[in-house]
Symmetry: C2
Subunit: 526 residues, 2 copies
């Protein structure tokens, strides 16, 4: 039974008697992305679901090569930090995606599991036993809470616990380094313990009400550890299936999905080597079909957006487009999902939701991070991104102009086109030239991003898919990366395909694992 | 007028009255690839053309981002160093492609232009003026030859000059670093001067008989320098067109083209992480379609070659196939040409010879060399290749097994599959682990090669082309690179497409420029 609300948002109702739900159903009416006090948690902002009721507590964990992502639902009748409910609603003009820098894996380390819980007090898990006691013990047990001396935290927890029978609550998001999986497990232990105490039930009762849905490679690798240390039920879920379920769910949350509109923001900076006074700097890569030499008459002013069909070639300095958020999302299948983690998986999703991992590349986030670790002083990925923003790739990249000395007009290549990434380094090294960390970072960030974009595009073309979603923790709202991917797709597709991004890009798998469990939950109840 | 020789080799005759020859015609009857005294010149071995007559001396120069390649024709009635005419004829069993290591750009430096001429005495250019003097002055002028005190050299030159009116001669190949283009120009100067002296004509007469066909980016960049310093006519030729002409020409030379046969040479070394006792180590990359999970039952002995359709995934340790040489080449169009220089160009060639640059990537030879320059002590590309042979990529690459702890059977991935190239480096660096140059080299060589193979394959698939030629100076007969590319193509195409290589891989453009001129020459004479 589906109806539309007055606002036009999709309403999905729970149908309890289906055997295995083919479509996972969560009540997303009125879902909003929450503001956070701290700007570092750009992609970990909670999602408030005012109409959702979770009888059993589920924690989803997606343990990848580098990061472990955690999703869990806690109850509250109204969103935390009211009245400012909505996060950036987005606009079609001059939105800057990159304002907050999300936490890098290393940034997460100083924040202990206990601190995490204190910083994000959004309620507790709900033990099933309380569901059976209508009007049962609501009073929280405050005494005996370990290391809990934050009054505000206690009060907010109390408030949430006391209204536990009303619908509504938040999806919460956390990240840990896989290399420090013990910290993740400690976090979950504390979460479970505190929830038990706040709800006034024994730890054993709480544990029997908690189920961990584990996905990602680490679901296999750490399965025993999770069971042994947390004493809860652990279920492994298929990684690719979870990614797709998470995508389908997230893409329905208003203002979750964003993309570059066709409105170009003209950059105030002028190009160093352009032949046209009105165009921003466009050093493209030597990849595209020569038909695009219609980009040729560059001395005349011309439009740069896809509307007129003229695209400059992809480059580390792509044109600056406005960010648009998908305010009224509709189901977005078929599509291609490009999940960029340590490595890259490319998954095709058909209109009916069936999916297939069709491609990928081992040149992913882990490659870039590894290279920049050895080549720059940066110790975190966010430091590397910051370095790249200051860099000039032309000191390390071999450009067409370096080889030809002029535009290679017949091929439609410009002198600032990159012929060989990092191609200047080999030649110069005989002269003991030192290359700056900034230039190295910019060159390699662009090279890796553009390569992913190229392979993604080729797969989208092969399977005739217009929508290309980019997930994974690689992007992090970094403007240059988003620009590179967006622009590459628009360029090679001549404007017919679109790159789409998600605020909770890194949590697709974890959300999917959580969602999958919900469907089966209602089956169990029937 | 075309006829076949008894040997079945194509015979192409010169038709002098065509306006612009659509097909470039060079008499390739009996063409053989020459042996060289020095093993370093694997890809620079001359090609002896016993039936060709060149009235005007042409030098072709292809100046790329890193290397300048030179091709010129000199006369001799019989091949140098007879009787051992043929280079490796090739066999289908246990051919080792990588025996001689070709000179790297740095290796070329110690060899001065004069030394080059002395090492490869294959005659002199022929000034046009002698063609006009039937029975003119044949006697060489020995006195006054600059710095020429090598008797053997003199004698061989004399022998060649004296039979200059008979057909036959050799195509000669040289390489220089673009960064030291002055050395290339000096070489050409000496070649022209000596040719003048040996033929007994003035330098001005010689210069009026020489034409330089210049292609590559440097044809534009160094055009003025070539004209000014050499005082000869210089013509620029389109780079892509020359690559294709060179490919068409070379692919007709017997034993020029080689590829991996379907006969697998079983490696004696056993895999470290394989689940099958009969298979070589196969750490594949996480790229392929899950349909290939038919590679699943790995505990049973099974065939590894494409004949039975079972392919292990691409890896830095691909199966060792025998090298086969194309002894009786036939025209090989349509095809895809993947030219790997500093950067990569991908060109599609139709059956009628028309071509289009359809794609490319900036992650090419220059990228790998640049990265390894900064990450290893190696100073030449051949040193880097040698390092890679000793390396173990699993110390720097993140494998599926590292993430999952076991085989990801549903996806058809093995635990030794590479999920993220260089993906272990970021994690470990917090612990100050030093990575060996060998491991780094192997990881990156594989990553770059496999990425090129993947993009090449996708384009071959898109344009429905079975033959994929790899050109450019990147490959250098290096077994691991050839294996990686060959195997990747065989794997993704399920055996339907083939990677093809050329001995003179780096000289496609130069040969093409030379060929182009020949066609127009005969037009001029008509």
């Amino acid at each position: 039974m589906t109806t539309s609300t007055a606002a036009g948002l999709p309403q999905i109702s729970v149908i309890p008697s289906l055997p295995i739900a083919e479509s996972i159903q969560v009540d997303t009416r009125g879902a909003v992305i929450l503001n956070e006090e701290s700007p570092e948690t750009r992609d970990s902002r909670g999602i408030y679901l005012p109409n959702y009721v979770e009888p059993v507590s589920h924690i989803a964990v997606d343990i990848g090569g580098s990061l472990a992502k955690v999703v869990y639902f806690t109850r509250s009748p109204e969103p935390p930090n009211s009245p400012s409910i909505a996060a950036t609603r987005g606009s079609s003009v001059h939105s800057d995606v990159s304002t907050p820098s999300p936490p890098s894996p290393s940034d997460l380390t100083p924040s202990s599991p206990i601190t995490k819980l204190e910083n994000h007090p959004r309620g507790a898990l709900t033990p099933a036993v309380l569901e059976n006691h209508n009007g049962g013990n609501h009073g929280p047990v405050i005494d005996g809470l370990p290391a809990l001396n934050n009054t505000t935290f206690q009060e907010s927890l109390l408030r949430r616990v006391s209204v536990q029978h009303l619908p509504g609550g938040s999806l919460n998001f956390e990240r840990f380094e896989t290399e420090h999986i013990d910290e993740c497990i400690e976090f979950l232990q504390i979460l479970i313990e505190r929830s038990a105490q706040l709800n006034g039930v024994s730890i054993e009762e709480m544990q029997s009400s908690v189920k961990i849905m584990a996905t990602g490679g680490g679901a296999h690798r750490f399965y025993d550890m999770l069971k042994t240390k947390l004493h809860v039920e652990v279920r492994s879920e298929d990684e690719i299936e979870c990614l797709i379920e998470g995508l389908k769910f997230l893409s329905l949350i208003p203002d979750e999905v964003y993309f570059f509109s066709d409105e170009l923001i003209h950059s105030v900076s002028h190009p160093t080597a352009a032949t046209c006074s009105c165009q921003p700097s466009h050093p493209p890569t030597a990849q595209s079909s020569p038909q695009l030499s219609s980009a040729g008459p560059s001395s005349q002013p011309h439009e740069h957006n896809g509307v007129n069909g003229v695209f400059e070639r992809p480059s580390p300095d792509p044109p600056k487009y406005a960010v648009s958020f998908e305010a009224n999302p509709t189901p977005q299948l078929p599509c291609l999902l490009v999940n960029i983690g340590s490595g890259v998986s490319i998954i095709r999703v058909d209109e009916d939701g069936s999916f297939e991992r069709v491609s990928g590349t081992s040149l992913g986030g882990g490659t870039l991070w590894g290279l920049l670790t050895l080549l720059t002083p940066a110790t975190t990925f966010d430091e590397m991104l910051a370095l790249s923003e200051q860099g000039d790739n032309s000191t390390v990249d071999m450009l067409v102009g370096d080889i030809y000395g002029q535009d290679y007009g017949k091929l439609g290549l410009k002198s600032t086109t990159i012929a060989s990434s990092f191609g200047k380094v080999f030649k110069k090294n005989g002269k003991k030239i030192k290359f700056s960390a900034e230039d190295i970072s910019k060159s390699l960030l662009y090279a890796v991003s553009n390569n992913i974009g190229q392979i993604a595009y080729m797969n989208a073309e092969k399977y005739n898919l217009e929508r290309i979603y980019f997930g994974g923790c690689f992007i992090r709202g970094h403007a240059a990366t988003i620009s590179t991917l967006s622009y590459a797709i628009r360029f090679w597709s001549k404007g017919t395909k679109r790159a789409l991004f998600l605020r909770h890009e890194g949590f697709l798998g974890a959300i999917g694992a959580w969602i999958k469990n919900i469907g089966e939950e209602h089956v169990d109840e029937a």
